[in-house]
Symmetry: C2
């Protein structure tokens, strides 16, 4: 791992041996993700990546930064640190997939009060596994020990991704028209959004434990809340390669839910009507709505409500796309609504 | 700012109006940094950047992630939030400059417990100003509100940079030989490293205030400790353009000081002898050594000790390079030591 040599600090509350041990393990995990584009030796100041520009007439880099948010608190409660790294990478991968980009490399920022090598290793193991699954090199990162910033055993985690796309094949929603159809791809849970509210309901209002299996939930609280944010790359990337022109727009359903994320890819003069009954969300959403006393408006603006990714196409392409998703093993792909004329709002009539 | 629309969350301890206001201000600051390469509309999922590949036979992306560390605590004490963003950007710029890269774009991660729009704006104002100074677009970022993670009024900050270089002109230290000379470029203070120790000495041992002006320090404690991490890009980039072949290796003196950073660019079989008397460090270093009872070994492995960046060249190029730096207004550039045969150690004979 490239910039890991900059582990702060040698003094004042920092355990040098623990830091060195964590760096050693992390470097080894990172090395396992290296794709042919990686040029840098471990320990150099910046990570070097030589993009394969073959077939790209006008290469455009697509980049995004993200965190895991307070889903981390659930990981702390459960003492499980190997899932949040996957959440982070998959979130970033989806964010650039929306514009048609394939990932090239990823870097992480892991900040703690006092470094626990086992925890750091578990976090980076999750990151490295997801990088490998997405064909993305873990090119570098920073592990910062910041005494007085984080509670014992806690940490924050951020990620940065860089991908590439040909300019002519960027997907920007420009061609979206009233009448176009929205195909939703299922989420497996909250992914990485809405955890401040979910935690308040589950751990404060209901006073549950991570091991509780309450009625209405399909597993122990900790397992359900830690389910990994899905990467839609393995499903959507072949679609873009085979039938990219059919996809008019895509949206990643993150903070703000369908309500706030769909307008980000609508052209002026367009709005969306969602058919609420078109899909069956995982039980966690009804559980949270019931016990949190959440109305639909708030729920659809806080949680993904069972739809993690949306593909927009012309009406005539709908059935072909649905069949394509079914052939690729995604029977949960369904029409969740359509584009209408309007002022950018998402309605749930 | 692209991914700012993902401001977490709408509920549970998050002030929606404050968040929206911060995002509005931040987007405007980011837009001001946009260079011709930026393609993305504000609000898209990923930031789009079209690199200018003219004249690059074999383009290589160079990337790095960094934080500001506990220098942030000094900013909190002083209530000054417009300098740490500069520290972050300049640190990242220097990290990729070491390999001969010029910056293309930057993304930040700003995490708080509860967002204060004025503070967030000040932080991003510093980031944006430094991006502009370094010709680097602030392409995106994430502002995360994470209740329960950070103390009131506190935040963490991480940055991520992507630059580009032609593969044939990458600087990797491969040609470094015993006898080569090290030219040091002055720092103006601690830059972003050693703050956990410095804070302990200044605020705990000496019980000083940010406004104190103790004997032996060239200004109030807060001002001295918050001096901005220098960017060496304006100085070194023209050198690489005019005489790149002369530079055999470079090092950015960050966490670990000269002791740990110089070995990162030495080939096997090389070591370094430093001439301690060759330069006059800013007074803060002697102040910290004296009041912290720090030996030289510890000081040179914790602080930059007045040298922020190092350029390695053949003996015959030394005088020409020194003259070049003086002509460019950097009289503080001095020979600080030379490469010897050895096992990678940095010695202070």
């Amino acid at each position: 791992m490239t910039t890991r040599a900059a582990l702060d600090y040698r003094t004042a509350g920092v355990d040098i041996d623990a830091g060195a041990e964590a760096v050693r393990r992390i470097r080894s995990l990172a090395r396992g993700t290296f794709t042919p584009g990686v040029l840098s030796e471990i320990g150099s100041f910046g990570g070097l990546f030589r993009p394969d520009l073959t077939g790209l007439a006008d290469p455009v880099l697509v980049s995004s930064a993200d965190g895991v948010g307070t889903k981390l608190k659930v990981a702390f409660l459960a003492g499980r640190h190997d899932t949040v790294g996957r959440d982070l990478v998959n979130h970033c991968v989806n964010d650039i997939l929306v514009q048609g980009a394939r990932p090239l490399f990823f870097l992480d920022y892991l900040a703690t009060g006092r470094l626990a090598p086992d925890v750091a290793e578990a976090v980076v193991r999750g990151i490295a596994a997801a990088c490998t699954e997405n064909g993305c090199a873990l090119l570098g990162g920073e592990t910062a020990e910041m005494p007085g910033f984080y509670a014992d055993g806690e940490y924050d985690l951020a990620g940065f991704i860089v991908g590439i796309a040909d300019r002519a094949r960027l997907i920007d929603g420009r061609g979206v028209r009233p009448g176009d159809e929205l195909i939703g791809l299922p989420s497996n849970g909250l992914h990485t959004n809405g955890y401040s509210l979910a935690r308040r309901i589950v751990f404060d209002t209901l006073d549950l434990d991570v091991d509780s299996v309450p009625e209405g939930l399909d597993g122990p609280v900790g397992d359900v809340l830690l389910r990994t944010h899905r990467s839609y790359l393995p499903l959507v990337s072949p679609l873009l390669a085979e039938a990219g022109g059919i996809v008019k727009a895509m949206a990643h359903v993150t903070g703000g839910g369908l309500t706030d994320n769909l307008p980000r890819v609508l052209p002026p003069g367009a709005a969306v009507d969602i058919e609420r009954g078109a899909w069956s969300p995982p039980p966690v959403f009804a559980f949270l709505q019931r016990h949190g006393g959440l109305g639909d408006a708030e729920a659809f603006r806080t949680f993904n409500m069972g739809i993690g990714f949306v593909v927009v196409c012309a009406p005539g392409e709908r059935d072909g796309l649905l069949a394509w998703f079914r052939r690729r093993g995604e029977p949960g792909a369904v029409v969740i609504g359509r584009v209408t004329a309007g002022d950018g709002a998402v309605r749930y009539p």
